[in-house]
């Protein structure tokens, strides 16, 4: 069990752990500095929600797990997600990697798809220039803590002009509250490359009996003309806290697509940000969530425009049940010089319970005149006209409402490129909406 320190790590123990894992010196140093920073920095302060009141200390201890001999050996929470016939898959169990494989064809093209700990040792030249460069480890206590303690993780590297046809898949799961579970995802897509990555972050049902904290950082580098699609479903247990920061840096004419399902049963901090650095860069973010019980969530999508003619579109849709709270922030920031930039955002909240709270906060920060920006936000209930229309075709009221709610979440569901994951997501939504 973790103790009630203000920061659950210090320089010495972070460095010792890194050394014991045989990490290269530059990484040992990075972790040590980060641990020290973690002691001095504050937790992030998202709008209208006090995450410092959550149990943030239960980050657990690093635990060396066993690698599986075959995918079939892994628990069903994993196997039912595996894309049929996939040859490129990474599975993390708690702190370590339980399975990894990459297709020979991709390897031959120079694509790297491995866990991040291994990549730091074997491909330091490709990792070091990017690790904690999209998100600075010194941003706040969360980033520092994560830099000190991240484990397992995923590294994707796609060389110039290489297009990866099939989605790369990762399944990251925990089944023990005391074990640290803190994957870091790093994706580097070189010029004119193309890749789709999909992960599923989940607690094995019935196993995490104590409170735990999952902290995770995703960094994506989209080089000029590259195209990255990133899909991620989070579904961790109700006694877990999920702290996830995602950021992409997009160069000239690059395109980033985020498809996020924040579907945890517990408290969630989720921030998905695109930096549109290059001219003609483009970002599209779609986020869905379902709030239930007394769950609290802070969900932010953000687009920061630096490049001329850069374009961003952000959509968040939340279904709120019971007495759940979601604070949904959409931030479009257009910097001076980002002429002809165009940023739009939409936040929609569907309230299914009078005791739930769903706040949509669209924020436009614009320092350039020659731009377009738009936002739309709405909080409402299931539209009775729509229910009437469906019922007039013989569909029961309950089924009519169900169809409308699923339809509300469809923009994300339909975008998930792996059938097995999409079907699992559908079952998950059914459970959450009916439960």
């Amino acid at each position: 069990m973790s103790t009630q320190l203000s920061t659950p790590t210090d320089r010495q123990s972070a460095e010792a752990l890194a050394r014991s894992k045989g990490e290269p010196q530059w990484l040992v140093d990075l972790r040590g500095e980060a641990a020290e920073l973690a002691g001095t920095l504050e937790w992030p302060k998202p709008e209208k929600i006090r995450i410092d009141r959550w149990n943030l200390t239960a980050v657990g201890n690093y635990e060396q797990g066993q690698a599986a001999a075959s995918v079939g050996e892994l628990p069903s929470v994993v196997t039912e997600l595996v894309a049929e016939g996939t040859e490129s898959l990474i599975v993390q169990q708690n702190s370590t990697i339980a399975w990894k494989q990459v297709s020979a064809e991709l390897a031959a093209k120079g694509v790297i798809f491995t866990d991040l700990e291994t990549a730091c040792k074997e491909h330091a030249d490709l990792v070091q220039p990017y690790l904690f460069k999209a998100i600075d480890k010194g941003d706040n206590k969360l980033t520092a803590l994560h830099a000190a303690l991240w484990n397992g993780g995923v590294f994707v590297y796609v060389p110039r002009n290489v297009e990866v046809e099939l989605p790369l898949q990762a399944i990251l799961y925990n089944n023990k509250s005391e074990a640290a579970f803190a994957p870091h995802i790093l994706i580097v897509a070189e010029s004119n490359s193309k890749v789709t990555y999909v992960d599923y972050v989940v607690s094995e049902p019935g196993t995490t009996t104590e409170p735990f904290v999952h902290h995770s950082v995703v960094e994506v580098f989209v080089k000029s003309g590259a195209h990255v699609r990133f899909g991620s479903i989070h579904h961790m247990a109700d006694n877990g806290v999920d702290l996830t920061l995602r950021r992409s840096i997009i160069e000239n004419d690059g395109r980033m697509e985020w498809v996020i399902g924040d579907l945890n049963d517990g408290n969630t901090l989720s921030d998905t940000t695109s930096h549109l650095k290059g001219n003609g860069s483009n970002s599209d973010a779609k986020v869905i969530t379902i709030g239930q019980n007394d769950q609290k969530m802070s969900l932010t999508t953000q687009a920061v425009h630096f490049g001329r003619s850069s374009e961003s579109d952000m959509v968040t849709r939340a279904v709120m049940k019971d007495s759940a709270t979601a604070i949904i922030n959409g931030i479009t920031k257009i910097e001076k010089g980002a002429t002809k930039a165009n940023g739009v955002q939409t936040e929609k909240v569907l309230m299914l319970s009078p005791k739930a709270r769903g706040d949509a906060n669209p924020i436009l920060l614009i320092d350039e005149d020659d731009v377009k920006a738009g936002h739309a936000a709405s909080v409402g209930q299931v539209n009775p006209e729509q229910v009437y229309y469906l019922m007039s075709r013989g569909i029961t009221k309950q089924d009519a409402e169900r169809l409308i709610i699923y339809g509300f979440l469809a923009p994300v569901v339909s975008e998930i490129p792996i059938d097995a994951v999409r079907e699992q997501l559908q079952r998950l939504l059914e459970r959450k909406l009916e439960g």
Binding site: Y389, L390, M391, S392, R393, G394, T396
Partner: protein, 259 residues
Amino acid sequence: MATQFVIDGLKAAIEGKEILKGINLEIKGGEIHAIMGPNGTGKSTLASALMGHPKYEVTEGTAVLNGEDLLEMAVDERARAGLFLAMQYPSEIPGVTNSDFLRSAINARREEGSEISLIKFIRQMEGKMKELEMNPEFAHRYLNEGFSGGEKKRNEILQMTLLDPKIVVLDEIDSGLDIDALKIVSNGVNAMRSEDRGFLIITHYQRLLNYITPDFVHVMMQGRIVKSGGPELAQRLENEGYDWVKEELGIVDETVGQA
């Protein structure tokens, strides 16, 4: 049993304003009735009250379909009892594909465990869409979202043909249709004519009735049926307008419920 639908003394109000002031109408299987009348006379209110739109309150009367009073039922039960309303303004439902919606509507009429097979459903749907000259991609589009006025109307007719109702109410099905679409929609309706199905066609133009020949024509004003006749009545309204009816009945303002 041959279909029989009897509306008796139907009064309905919206937001406390009485709009329907006592409608009496009997439709038998095989018959086509047309209700005509200028805008604002209560035609859509009749359709909505029959279907059970939540905004309309029925204050008096019955609407008995084959022995059962529809007005006692919830909206979905009315539909399953055999009432179909092609709406003047169909709702758009984002995220729900046309085909998922249609399949749910068909399965709502079937026992659990005997749902229509996907293959059979697709074959039926595609066949009917072809007859209505609908682009097959409309099966995968979200229900009515971004459909043009004419596309929505065709989609209403598609639903009618797949759901096999006993009483069909078409509310301004001809509005927004060009002449080709009008013919296609009319063919769809004519193909559905049968001894055990009755139609109530609401329109304020005679145009549609050139393609679908009614057996009875009723004129609605001030929330009542003020005149009834055969197809020749529609022809006269087309030639002479509504003024002669108003004069004959001493009506100055034919609308209802307007301030």
